[in-house]
Symmetry: C3
Subunit: 360 residues, 3 copies
C-alpha cells in the first residue's frame, strides 16, 4: 500500500529543461512531466484519452503537450485544447493532471487527492541544506530499483549495514556502538541519541579520536585540509534526519581530533525515494559539501554515486526473497539495532491507516 | 477475440523455399509451415503428438516433415506415416493440419472450421494490384509486433496520423481536410469520399496544386520524371481499400499539377495483419510501383520499410497502455477523423458475433 | 510434484573450494552451499531470517557464514551465533539447514524430512564407476535448463533419440533395432534386454560387426588404439542403468570386431538431474574413460559437453509446448520404443504417491 496524500520527488530540475519530457511511473501511475515554453511545470497522466498513446512520446509545443499520434494538444491542467482538423475538441477530452511544486531543488508531485495538496508540510524542511549557497555538489538518481521503498527506507535509517556493505567508505566498526540508541537531542561521544515526532526521526552520533578506521570521514579531513593523507586521529559526528514516507538526510562532520565541531568539514547526503510500484522505486539523491573546488566536486559525485550503487544489488536480491508480500508480514527476526527502523515502519503504518480510514 | 473463419496471410512465398520451415504462432496456435519436395504446401500444429517437440525444429524429408526428436514423419494432412524402428505408427498419431492457399503472392492459412475453408471470398480482391506484371516492388514483414491487430488496423485506416508520425514522407497538412469523409465514390478535390460494404471500406482523396508539402508524393513525381528535384506544384490522389479483418491497400497517384490522373505515377502499399495473440501481430506488407528501375526498387523498399517501422514503437507503447482489455471497452475519446475507423471496428464486432452465435 | 525424501546432487566438489559459495534453487527452495574453513559442508536456506537477504551474497568466515547485509553469522546447523554490536543473537534466529553428504565425487543434499536422511540407499551404487582410480575424466553441468526433470529423464532413458539428435556421435541406425526390449540380464547381439526393480532399470544392448556407423564408438576404438582412423568393423556394447528419481549411467564398450569384450575400451557417462522447479532443472554430468592421456581427456570432456548441449534447446522447446501441466496428463501418443521410459514414469509416480500418502 502506498501513502498517496504526501509530496514525492518526481524529477530533478535538469530533467525537464529544453523541452524534454520525463516519463515516470509513480505509485503505479504512468506520469509525464515537462515544462512549457514559458516555464510552467506540467504533470499529466501519461496516456492520451483518445487512443491511449503515452503522451511522453509527444512534444511540448509552446504551452501545450502535443500527442505523438494524432496531434491533440493538452494544457497543464490536462484539458485537450486543440485537435488538428476539427474546430473544437470533444468536451470530455482531458487527462488527469497532478499538482507540482519546486522545493529544495527538486520537482515534487502530489499523487493523492488534489484538494489536500495545498499543505506543503510533508516536504521535509531538513532538505534546506541542499539550498545552502556555500555548499557545492550535485544530483543523481537510480531510475528503477527493483525494491520497494520500505526496504530502501530500512537501509537508509540503518547505519549498521555500512560496516558490511560500504567497508571502504562510510563503514567503520565505530558504528556498532550505536546499535542501542537512547532518547536525547545532544551529541554524546560513543552514543547514539534520538528524538522522534509523528512522522520524523532524528538521530546523532559522535566518535572521537578515531585512529585508523572511518575511511570516508578521513577522506573528508584529508581533502578539506588539502593534504595527501591524514593519518592522525579524527573526530566525527553524524546527524541523520528521516521523515515519512521516504526522506533521509545525512550530515557528516569530520575534523582532526580535538578541533571544535564548528570548524569541521561537512558533507550532506540527501535521499528521496519515490515508489514506482509496490516492489520498485525511483531513488533520488543529492550530495553537497562545504569544502574543495569544482574538480573535487566532480570526483565527490562520482564517489558517492559509486557508494550508493553498492546497495542496489543487495536491495534487489532482498526484494526477490521478500516477494510480493510485505517483509514484516513474514515474521522476520529483528536485532537490537533495528529499533529506529521499526519505529519508522510503525509511522508509515499509522499514515497508511489514517489515509484509508473511512472517516476521512 | 479473434475471427477464425477467414483467411490470413501466413507467410511470404520466399520463406518456405529450399526446405526451410516457418514457425509462427497464429491466433495463439503454434503452426509450422513448409513446402514438400514436390512443392506441396503444408501447415501443421507445431507440436509432435508423441512428446510435444515443436515440429518446426525438424526437417522436410521428401513429402514428409520429420520430427527432430525421434524421427516420426508426418504428411501434409497431419497423419503420422512412419515411426523409425516400428512397423506401423500408432493409429491415432496425427496433428492438426490447416488449409493453405496461395493468392496474390502470399501463402494464406485458414485457422477456423476447415469445412468452411473452400470459400476464398475473404481474400480481398484489391490485393490483385500486387500481381500486376508492370509494377515492381517487394515484400517485407515485422515478425511479432507487440500490438493487437485492431490497433494496427486503426492505424492503417487512419490517414491523419501521418502528419505526426510520418512528417517527412506520407505526412502532410493536406490530410487534415479529409477528417470529415462524406459518402461517395468519386475523387473530389479537397474532400474525402467513402463507400462501404459488409466487411470493406474504400475511401478516396484528391489534393490539387500542392506547392511545398507531401514529401512522398513529391518524391514519386521527381523519381518518375527522373529529375533531381521537382519544386513545382503537384496533384495527388489516394485510394484506400480496407477489408476485414485486417487488409489495407493504399494506391497513391502523383503527377505534376494539371497532368491527367491517368498519366500519374503510382505506388501501391498493401498491408496484411495476422494476429499472433490478442496483443501481438505479424505484419506483412507488399509495396509496388509503376516507375523506376531495379535500383530504384531497392531504395524504394528500404524507404517504405523505414517508414512503416516508424509505427511499431508507437503501436507497442499504445498496447502497453491499453493492456489486456480491449481499447474500446475502456471508453476512449474519439475525434471526428475516427469515423471510418469506428465503422471498421463495428464490422469486426459483427463478424465476431456472427462467428460465436450459437445458431451457426 | 517433486520427490523430496531422496538424495539429490547439489554441487560438484570444486564449486565450494576456496571459500566460494554456491547459490542454487533446489526443489523450488533457494539454498546456499559452502564449506567452512575446517572443511565442513554447510547447506542453508538462502535467506537471512533478519531481513531476508540471500545468505549466498555473504561470506564464509571461519566456521560461519556471515550475512552480507548486517554481519549476522550462522553455523552449519543454521543457528545464528553472532550479531555484531549485540551480546547475544535473538534465540529464534535460525535458518533451515539441509543434510549433506559426499559420495562418488558429488555433494548430495536431502531436501525432505531430515529424520529420514540417514538412509543413503537412494544414492545409486552404479555411480561408483566415477570413483575408479584408473578411469580419467571430468565434471560438467548445465546450471538451469528450462525443462522439468521428467523430460530430461525421458531423454536419457531413451536411446532412440540419438539417431536424430546426435547423428555425428552417439547416434546410429543400430539403435533402432533396440526399440523392443525384452526381459533379460545378458548382452544379446542385436537385442535390448532389461531388468528392473522398484526404483531402477537396467538395459543392455550389443551390436556386432558394425561397418560404417556409430561414430562415437568408432572414435573410442580409434583413440584407444592410438590410430588416426579405424575403418574396419567394430563391436560395441552399451549398458544403461537408471535409478529414480533422476540418475542415469551409460557404460559404453567398443572394440575391433571379434575382440573379446573384456579388452574393449570403455567410457562411462553419468547424469544426475536435480529439479530446480517443476519446469527447470540442474543437470550434472560426469564422464570418465579407461584409455588415452590427459590431453585426450581435455578433448573428450569438451566433446561430451558439446554433445550433451545438443539436447538443451530441444528439451527447452519441448517444455514450452508442454507448459505447466505434466506431459502425460495431456495424452501424448507413445511409440514402441517408449516402454522403459513409461516404466520409469510409473516408478516416479509410485514414489510420489508413497511420499504423499497420509499414513506416512
Amino acid at each position: 500500500m502506498h501513502i498517496k496524500n504526501t509530496w514525492y520527488v518526481a524529477a530533478e530540475p535538469g530533467e525537464v529543461t529544453g523541452g524534454r519530457l520525463v516519463a515516470r511511473t509513480i505509485l503505479n501511475e504512468p506520469v509525464v512531466i515537462g515544462r512549457t515554453e514559458s516555464g510552467k511545470l506540467m504533470a499529466l497522466q501519461d496516456r492520451c484519452p483518445h487512443r491511449f498513446m503515452p503522451l511522453s512520446l509527444g512534444r511540448m509545443i509552446g504551452e501545450h503537450l502535443r500527442c505523438a499520434y494524432h496531434g491533440a494538444c493538452f494544457d497543464a491542467g490536462g484539458a485537450c485544447v486543440t485537435v488538428p482538423g476539427q474546430d473544437l475538441p470533444p468536451q470530455n477530452a482531458r487527462v488527469r493532471s497532478y499538482p507540482l511544486v519546486e522545493r529544495h531543488g527538486y520537482i515534487w508531485i502530489w499523487m493523492g487527492d488534489p484538494a489536500l495538496s495545498a499543505d506543503l508540510g510533508s516536504i521535509p524542511g531538513f532538505l534546506f541544506r541542499s539550498d545552502h549557497p556555500e555548499w557545492d555538489g550535485g544530483y543523481g538518481h537510480f531510475e528503477s530499483i527493483q525494491a520497494g521503498f520500505r526496504l530502501i527506507n530500512d537501509n537508509l535509517i540503518d547505519v549498521t549495514h555500512a560496516e558490511f556493505v560500504h567497508p571502504e567508505s562510510f563503514g567503520c566498526e565505530q558504528l556498532r556502538q550505536y546499535r542501542n540508541p537512547v532518547p536525547g537531542d545532544e551529541f554524546v561521544a560513543g552514543r547514539m541519541t534520538y528524538t522522534s515526532g509523528a512522522r520524523e526521526i532524528t538521530y546523532r552520533m559522535r566518535s572521537l579520536a578515531v585512529s585508523e578506521d572511518a575511511p570516508f570521514y578521513r577522506w573528508m579531513v584529508t581533502q578539506g585540509l588539502k593534504r595527501d593523507s591524514f593519518p592522525q586521529p579524527i573526530d566525527f559526528d553524524m546527524q541523520v534526519d528521516w521523515a515519512a514516507p521516504s526522506f533521509t538526510s545525512f550530515v557528516l562532520n569530520a575534523r582532526p581530533a580535538g578541533v571544535p565541531v564548528e570548524l569541521g568539514f561537512k558533507v550532506c547526503n540527501m535521499h528521496a525515494v519515490t515508489p514506482e510500484s509496490e516492489t520498485s522505486s525511483h531513488y533520488f539523491y543529492r550530495s553537497v559539501k562545504d569544502f574543495g573546488d569544482a574538480d573535487l566536486t566532480t570526483r565527490f559525485m562520482a564517489g558517492v554515486g559509486a557508494i550508493f550503487s553498492q546497495d542496489q544489488p543487495l536491495l534487489e536480491a532482498q526484494q526477490l526473497r521478500v516477494g510480493a508480500q510485505d517483509l514484516f508480514e513474514q515474521r522476520p527476526i529483528s536485532f537490537a539495532g533495528d529499533m529506529l527502523q521499526l519505529k519508522a515502519r510503525r509511522m508509515l503504518k499509522d499514515l497508511e491507516e489514517a489515509e484509508s480510514a473511512p472517516a476521512r
